[in-house]
Structure formats: C-alpha cells, structure tokens
C-alpha cells in the first residue's frame, strides 16, 4: 500500500476536552492530615458531635491500615500528607441560598461541562446536585422532589437537616473499617449527595450528581448515600471530570445504597476524570468503594458504569444480596488508553434464598493501557437456589496493551448455579479493512466496532447518558488505531 503509515501506535493522541481550570478563589486547608484537620472539616460543615466522633474513629482506624497492594496496577506511593483535604469555592458571606446566589463562574464551568443547572431547572428531566472540589454548589428541582417526599441534597446538608436518617444508614453498607480508602473517606469526606426515596414513591425524574475536581493538590472525597424505602424506585446518574494537571490527584469516594423490600435502585456512572497525558503524567487516582445492600425481599440494585477516565481506577461496585429473591446487576465498560490502568469489577454476595445476579463486563485496552477485571461471586450456605451469570469480554486494540481477568467464585451450597463466560478479542485489522472497503474510515470503524462490543452495557444506560457514553468512548479511543 502507498503511504499507509497505519501503525497502531502512531496516532495515540487523545484530547481531553474537560481539562480547563476555573479561575475561582477557593478556600483550602493546608496539605496534611491529622485530627485537627478533621475537626476543621467537621466544624466548617457545622456537623453534630456524633459525626465528628465517627470521623475521628475512622481516622484512627485508618492509621492502622496500609494501602492495598493486590490490585494489578503500578504507581508511585501516594503521599497522604501532601494532599489538601478540604477545598471550597470561596463564598462572600453566607452560603448560597439558591442557585441565583451561586458564583456565576461556577455555573459557567458547569455549562462548559454540558450541565447547565438553570437550564435543567426549566426543562423537565434531570435533577442535578453538583459537587465542585469538596462542596456541593447547588441542587436543582429540590422543591418538586420535596412534594413527593423525596430528599435530594448535599451530604453536608443531610447531616444537618436529616441527622436521624444519615446516622442510621451512613457506614451501614461500607463501614469505615472496610478498607484503606473507605476509612480515609470516612474520616475526611467533604461532601457528596444524599438521596432518600420514601415508601412506595417512584422518583419521577433521573437524579444526577456531577463531580468536578478543580483546585490543584486537592483530594476529593465525596460520600453518597441513597436509601430506597419499601416499594420505591430511583434512577441515579453520576458524572465526573477534572482539569488537566501534571501531578496526580486522589479521588477516594464512597457510595452506599440501601434498597428495602421491593425497592429498586439503578445507579449509572460515566466516569471521565482526567486520565493523564500520553506519557502517563498526571491524572486522577480513582480509588472508590461502591456497594449496595439489597436489604429487603425482592429488592434490586443495578450498577452501570462507563469508565473512560482516570490514570488509575480501583473500583468494584458490589451488591450484598441479603433479602430473599433480591437481584444484583453490574454492567461495566472500562476503557484504558495510553498509560491508563484499571482494576475494576464487582462483588456479588448471595446471602438470601433465591437471589440472582448478572455481571456483564466489557474491558477495552488500547495504547499501553492495562485493564483488569476482578470479580467475586460468593454464594453463601443459606443462599439456596441462588443464580449468577457472568460474562467478561476483553477487547485489545494494538499490541502493547493488556487485558487480565481475575474471577473468584465461592459456592457454599449445592442448589445454586454459577455461569461464567469470558472472551478476549483483538480488534481485527480484518474488521477495520472490511469497514474501510465499504467506505467507512478507520476512526469511524473503530468507534463502530467498539460500540458494538459495548452494546449490552450501553442499553442499560438512560437514553441521554447512553449517547454521551458513546461519544466519550469515541474521544477516549481517538487515534488508538491508525
């Protein structure tokens, strides 16, 4: 062929379009972590004593832990004393009472990100809680939701306004003793979203949180808690972006979901934290603990994630299937390009009888990216007739990336069934040439092939999110094939 310098590595150049920095004055704690910093965070948030006590217990426990080394990722050690644990956009006087009082620069940022809060207020559809660095800047649709008895607010506000609910459920699914990052989060969590759906209420709109890390040298530690009472339903969306910076930033979030009898929670994430540059400089370390408890009979929790960002992803959205006949689902697309590393998967813990779980994981590796699926299916003795189906597919683009699968299966009774299917495919020169020969250029062909590969997951996403996810995938893999 003529001048076809179509080498797979040559065109690895992804533009990260959310990489801008908002020039906004922020108030940050000095780097470092000690009990005084935790007291300061708690004071800033005007928290009750029990909250502070819980944070301090978590901190003291964290001191006894060491960072996990089992994930299939490599990075220089994180200096936890070099991070600032609190950053908030500076406010003049009192905090904003409504969106009208939010700093216009902040709102501009969200508009750039495609989440015009005010617009959203007018157009029916999605209620948004936006978290900028450490604090929540505004929640739309609050009044309409309140009419149905739905609480949707920032975590800080929930701690102040609904302390009984928070106290009852916080740490009930992910205790602060759970793991290193969960303990750290419990000690220093700055904000996040809280959502409570009362009995029998079907939430009339998608609830959405948008997370953004702006300030440099800042960690983001949000904590999200969703409680769905008996017979209720909620669909929740989460999106994340960050500016381009040379240094690594830590994001250690905790998400806890509780579904009571016949309740259903659908939690969708499109994670697009800054992935670092082609050489692997900068990018977010995304060390997240997400877990849902199907506490009630016939309850259901469904996780759908599209992970395209972050330098390192360490994340296992899980379901504890306690209630009889409860259902857990995990649909995941994880993309790594350049030097990105992902170690992600799920845990499905079957405790109740007749519980069911489905796992569909699609890993895509390009550039020198390393992608690991790590999943546990645990069927306890009492989980009679439990059923699990797992499907883990990996796609490789180019010759320098890697895909790894670590499935763990523990079955402690004889009436249950577990199915596991796994495939690894290479995006074929043949497939691309076939598309070329029909007039479709290489980049479009790759998008088409990858989207086809991810179809089973994308169909689980709410419509607008599915469209966004497809576009994001295109951007993430731009230039991954010549």
């Amino acid at each position: 062929m003529s001048d076809d310098a179509h080498s797979i590595e040559t065109l690895v150049k992804t533009e990260y379009k959310y990489g801008f920095v908002t020039e906004i004055e922020s108030e940050s704690a000095p780097p470092g972590l000690n009990e005084d910093v935790i007291r300061m965070i708690s004071r800033k948030k005007e928290e009750p004593d029990w909250m502070l006590e819980w944070r301090l217990k978590a901190y003291r426990h964290w001191l006894t832990l060491t960072e996990p080394t089992w994930p299939q990722v490599k990075h220089p050690p994180v200096d936890y004393q070099a991070i600032s644990y609190y950053s908030a956009p500076k406010q003049k006087g009192e905090g904003p009472k409504s969106l009208a009082e939010v700093d216009p620069k902040l709102l501009e940022t969200y508009e750039k990100l495609g989440i015009p809060l005010r617009e959203q207020e007018r157009l029916a559809g999605v209620a948004v809680d936006a978290v900028f660095d450490s604090v929540s800047v505004g929640t739309t649709f609050k009044d309409q939701l309140a009419e149905k008895g739905i609480l949707f607010c920032s975590m800080s506000e929930a701690v102040r306004e609904h302390p009984a609910l928070v106290k009852k459920y916080i740490g009930s699914v992910v205790p602060y003793t759970d793991n290193f990052f969960a303990a750290l989060n419990s000690a220093v969590f700055s904000d996040g979203s809280f959502c409570y759906i009362p009995r029998g209420v079907r939430c009339p709109m998608e609830l959405s949180t948008y997370f953004r890390i702006n300030a440099s040298n800042t960690g983001q530690f949000e904590r999200t808690l969703i409680v769905a009472e008996e017979g209720s339903y909620v669909s929740y969306l989460e999106g994340c972006t960050a500016p381009m910076r040379d240094e690594n930033q830590l994001h250690a979030a905790v998400v806890e979901l509780v579904a009571l009898d016949h309740a259903e929670i659908k939690y969708s994430t499109v994670q697009n934290w800054y992935p670092g540059d082609e050489e692997g400089r900068g990018g977010i370390y995304n060390f997240v603990t997400k877990r849902g408890l199907c506490k009630g009979r016939k309850s259901k929790i469904s996780w759908t994630q599209v992970e395209t960002g972050s330098a390192i992803t360490w994340k296992y959205p899980s379901c504890i299937l306690l209630g009889e006949g409860s259902t857990g689902e995990f649909y995941s697309v994880a993309v790594v390009n350049n030097r990105q590393q992902a170690d992600t998967g799920t845990k499905m813990v079957h405790i109740g009888r007749n519980t069911r779980s489905t796992i569909v994981s699609k890993g895509i590796s390009a550039g020198q990216g390393q992608n690991s699926y790590r999943g546990l299916v645990e069927i306890r003795k009492g989980a009679a007739n439990a059923r699990n189906f797992s499907q883990c597919d990996s796609m490789l683009i180019g010759a320098r990336c890697g895909a790894h699968t670590f499935p763990y299966i523990e079955v402690k009774n004889t009436s249950s069934s577990v199915e596991h299917e796994a495939t690894t495919s290479k995006i074929g020169e043949d497939q691309i040439f076939y598309c070329n020969q029909r007039g479709i250029q290489t980049q479009d062909a790759v998008n088409m092939i990858v989207n086809g590969f991810c179809k089973e997951v994308f169909k689980e996403l709410p419509m607008e999110f599915a469209v966004e996810a497809q576009k994001l995938l295109g951007v993430s893999l731009e230039g991954s094939v010549g």
């Binding site: 062929m1 076809d4 020169e429 497939q431 598309c435 070329n436 007039g439 092939i449």
Partner: protein, 256 residues
Amino acid sequence: MSTPILEIINLSAGVEGKPILKGVNLTIQAGEVHAVMGPNGSGKSTLASVLAGREGYEVTGGQVHYRGQDLLEMAPEERAREGLFLAFQYPVEIPGVNSTYFLKAALNEVRKHHGQPELDAMEFLSLVKEKMKLLELRDDLLKRSVNEGFSGGEKKRNEIFQMAILEPKLAVLDETDSGLDIDALKVVSEGVNKLKNPTNAQLVITHYQRLLNYIVPDFVHVLCDGRIVRTGGKDLALDLEEKGYDWILKQVAVAA
C-alpha cells in the same frame, strides 16, 4: 474508446518481501464481465487485495488506473467511495453492529463523497426493500449483527446485498462461490447478474468453472504464478474445467 473502468499495467506486488504478482496486465471496460481463474497460490486473491488496498500488500511495480485515477494513491475507503467494491472471500463478523446500521453508514459515506444528501432511516429502508425485492432475498439478515453467526451462504448473500445497495462501478468478487451449495450459488449469481448494467463492470475471481455457468464472463483470464498466461472467451473456462490447469501450464512452459 471511453476511459476504461480498470486498467492494470505491468503490476507487481508481494507480501513481506515475497513476490506474488509478477507483471499483471488487464483492462476492463464498462459493461464487461471478466473472470480471473487460476490454481491455488497463483495470486488471484492477492490481486483482489491489492485492488481494494488491503494493508500488508506491497506494490513493487506497475500502475493501476481506475476510471482515469491513480488507484494505488487512494486510501481503501476512498476507493470504496469511488465505487470499487470487493465481495470478500471471507466476510468479516462485527458483533453488536446492526447490519442495517452498518450498511446505511456505508451508503451515506458514498453519498457524502459525491455531494449527495445522506439518506434518513425511512428513505434507506425503502431502498432496502426495493433491493430485497430485486434480489428476492429475505430481510432477516439485516436485523442481525454484521455477518455474526451467518452461515457461509448467508455471508455471501449479504455481500451481494451490500453490492446492490452501494451500486459500485467495479465489483470484484473474490471466490464468491467458495463454500456455497448449488442453490446458494444460483441465488448469489442471479443477484450479481441483475446488478450488471452498461455503466459498470465485474471482475469475478474463481478457482472453479462452475460459477461461470451462472455468471457468464465476456473474458476469461488465466493467472499462473503471478502472470496472466492466457486470455480467451467463456469457452476457455470450459477447456480448463475439462483439462485442468496443468494443460495450460504445460503449454506456457513449451511456449517459453
């Protein structure tokens, strides 16, 4: 005479430094059907790959003019948009990509290239129906992912259906008969014949004569060891069927 659709002049090409085509000459005019036959390893599929621009095939000499343009300078997708269609010997599966979606994307690339408006879903579906009727095909294949889980016959039918939608100026059919039973062979051949018109041309690459009972060529070329050693009418194919390739090879050896 008008500009030929395809003019191959002294074409040499190989793979990984190994020469395969060693000076091929071939001219195809509009309205003609040419067959290239030859024993295994003679370079038939290489010829198809070079024409379509498949990666890994190095052209080491010669020229190829396609409708007056330098074909070898064009990217594979440009060749396709300019109306060069390759019906694959082994059509590729693309899991999860709906056949209709794929074909609509392909057609719209061609239309954009020619400055025509893209077809919307409704317009495209009516075109699909029209072509289905023409080829007497069922539309079940279009609901599935591209070639995924298709039988050999279904894959080949799908290639011809794509050809019907894209209306190429030059269709290169690479061993379209391989893996087909006689009924499928008939369906596919009838499709190809219906798509023939005075403004387009077909280059049929095949090992066996039997396909040429259904797609009747104007010219038959015998490719041996990277060269066209004999050109004749449709009767040449019958001679080959009867006497085998050895017969020609011996004649060539004697002549040399």
